[in-house]
């Protein structure tokens, strides 16, 4: 009865629950081998095409926004690697409207874990590993080809950029999920900043106009995920609004993204309890 299910086990129990569910998702994806292989391949193709886009652009020009090919590879690699990992672990959050319609969300309400943690750990898209591999290759190539002044500081900066970038992108998936409570057909709107953000993140922010710098530089701080850390790392001149030293502030941007995501999610859940049916 009840005494068997309540008690002082707290987060350990919850952790075991998340692990069990995630483990089963991985198992399920591995058990459909052909389908998984096709998924991996198509995901890889998308990653390669996006990388090719950058390479093609640089056949006609030497520099865009002050960055040469090796440097833009670094920006692209950093952004794409972080985004792919975030997509792998948080990407299914943008299926919120489907979850609401199918009643999946109601089922999560009936389980003794926090809603958001349940949602995040309810699935994992292993096929995005292929995408992450493309990002990682671009990142390593960028690091090898650019003139990186290697030091402890440089390694630290790259580490900070990777973690902050992952957190920033993950937060953008969560805020999108929160906002989709308000507009059930809002995926179009939230895709604009989740996937538009990813695209923006892999570009040199120096070429943006001011409005774009405000939106993707600060409000959705995509410039902090790759461009700014690279500018700081390689000691390149910053640009208007985006001075070089901001590269060290990636964790602040990540923190702001998390805060914004938490607000969106809370508001979304309140709204669901207030308006769903």
């Amino acid at each position: 009865m009840a005494e068997a299910t309540t008690g002082s086990r707290g987060w350990r129990t919850d952790l075991a629950a998340y692990r069990a569910v995630l483990g089963s998702r991985i198992e399920a994806q591995r058990s459909y081998r052909v389908s998984f292989a096709v998924d991996l391949a198509s995901s890889l193709l998308v990653g390669v095409v996006e990388l090719a886009e950058v390479l093609v652009l640089y056949r006609t020009v030497d520099r865009i926004g002050g960055l040469d090919l090796a440097q833009i590879l670094l920006v692209f690699g950093l952004a794409d690697f972080c985004f792919s990992l975030a997509d792998l672990s948080f990407g299914h959050c943008d299926r919120m409207p489907t979850y609401v319609r199918a009643g999946t969300l109601d089922v999560l309400y009936l389980r003794p874990q926090p809603l958001l943690l349940q949602l995040v750990t309810s699935d994992i898209s292993l096929r995005r590993l292929a995408r992450a591999a493309v990002g990682l290759i671009a990142l390593v190539a960028g690091l090898a080809l650019s003139d990186v002044p290697w030091s402890i500081g440089a390694v630290l900066l790259i580490g900070i950029a990777l973690v902050s970038g992952y957190v920033t992108f993950a937060a953008s998936f969560v805020s999108a999920a929160g906002l989709q409570f308000f507009v059930i057909n809002g995926a179009e709107m939230t895709n604009a900043y989740v996937y538009g953000g990813r695209y923006a993140a892999s570009q040199p922010a120096s070429v943006w106009g001011r409005p774009l710098k405000v939106i993707f530089g600060f409000f959705f701080p995509m410039a902090f995920t790759a461009y700014l850390p690279v500018v700081t790392l390689l000691d390149l001149p910053g640009s208007d609004f985006l001075p070089q030293w901001l590269g060290w502030c990636a964790p602040v941007a990540a923190l702001w993204s998390v805060l914004f995501a938490a607000l969106c999610w809370r508001a979304g859940v309140r709204h669901y309890q207030g308006g769903g049916g």
Binding site: A2, A17, A20, L110, Q273
Partner: protein, 320 residues
């Protein structure tokens, strides 16, 4: 008294957009419910009467617009996570199983989610598998199950953690007679042995007759009746019907005490007599009929729950 469900003035409004205007719709209005631990309550009403909204408020999915609810002594929204360990909910239309996994794996995951100790989880799981006859499809992925099989698996999933209160929303919808029967027998046994409180919404007269000792009828978000099924039929004057097949054509049986002749077929080979359970019994009516003609076959038609609800609605409409 420690009520397992207690609501006071529970009200829920929805705002809906109607063209350019916003309208408010009251799904549940000023609902006062009290359910004792161990009771089996049928929560009856037409579609859109407010049943699901009530259940969502009792389980912490929806916030009441006003009034209060306590389930298992807890405030559902604020204490949702603790409450989840004490209640089991089956929504007939939505699944809590993992569609691409075998049933067995869903049970394993739910045991982890509820943090059940391994030995306890195993003995409970085995008990449920046996009683709901799940063994034969335990290793089948959920998406390949028939409706009846899936429903039994759903019920087992909701009861794996031995909840004190089980809420079932249309548990027998779409099931064949045998599946319904099995499910009802299981619920009866579970209630008898564990003292589980049951609350179910249904359109099925059989569910109500077999499972519930108390009926709540909700009409446009308000409680329209609270009492037993017999009392409900009595209140609205719903009658049982005795259908008899006679051995030879017989004139209409109009003189049988406490009955009303509803009609005859085949020159009076088959006749229908309505009677009130309060005034007489099926046996007495049958005895009286036998005095007129030889009965070769018979059936008793119970008042249909939909019909009873319609009558309740009609009565409350005339009152207001």
């Amino acid at each position: 008294m420690n009520w397992i469900i207690e609501t006071r003035g529970l009200t829920r409004e929805f705002r809906v957009r109607d063209g350019f205007q916003r309208r408010r719709i009251q799904a549940v209005t000023d609902l006062d419910l009290r359910v004792r631990p161990g009771e089996a309550v049928g929560y009856i009403g037409a579609n859109g009467a407010g049943k699901s909204t009530t259940i969502k408020m009792l389980t912490g999915i929806l916030v009441p617009t006003s009034g209060s609810a306590r389930t298992c002594g807890r405030e559902p929204v604020r204490e949702r996570r603790q409450l989840a360990r004490e209640i089991g909910v089956v929504f007939g239309q939505r699944s809590q199983l993992w569609w691409d996994l075998p049933v067995r794996d869903s049970f394993r995951l739910l045991a982890a989610i509820h943090g059940l100790a391994a030995d306890r989880a195993k003995s409970r799981r085995d008990q449920l598998i046996e009683r709901l006859e799940i063994g034969e499809f335990l290793t089948t992925p959920v998406r390949q199950l028939s409706l009846g099989q899936r429903m039994r698996a759903e019920v087992a999933a909701a009861m794996l953690h031995s909840p004190r209160l089980v809420i079932l929303d249309e548990p027998t919808i779409g099931l064949d007679v045998l599946s319904k029967q099995r499910l009802r027998e299981f619920l009866i046994a579970e209630r008898r042995e564990q003292g589980t409180t049951l609350m179910l919404t249904t359109h099925d007269t059989g569910d109500v007759e077999r499972l519930c000792d108390r009926i709540l009828v909700v009409d446009r978000g308000r409680l329209a009746y609270d009492g037993t099924l017999a009392g409900l039929s009595r209140t609205v004057g719903a009658q049982r019907v005795l259908v008899v097949d006679l051995d030879r054509p017989t004139p209409d049986l109009v003189g049988i005490p406490d009955t009303r002749h509803l009609g005859s077929e085949g020159d009076g080979l088959r006749q229908e007599l309505a009677f009130d359970s309060e005034a007489t019994t099926a046996a007495q009516v049958l005895a009286a009929v036998t005095a007129h003609a030889e009965v070769i076959d018979l059936a008793v038609r119970e008042p249909d729950i939909e019909d009873v609800v319609r009558r309740i609605y009609a009565a409350s409409r005339t009152d207001s």
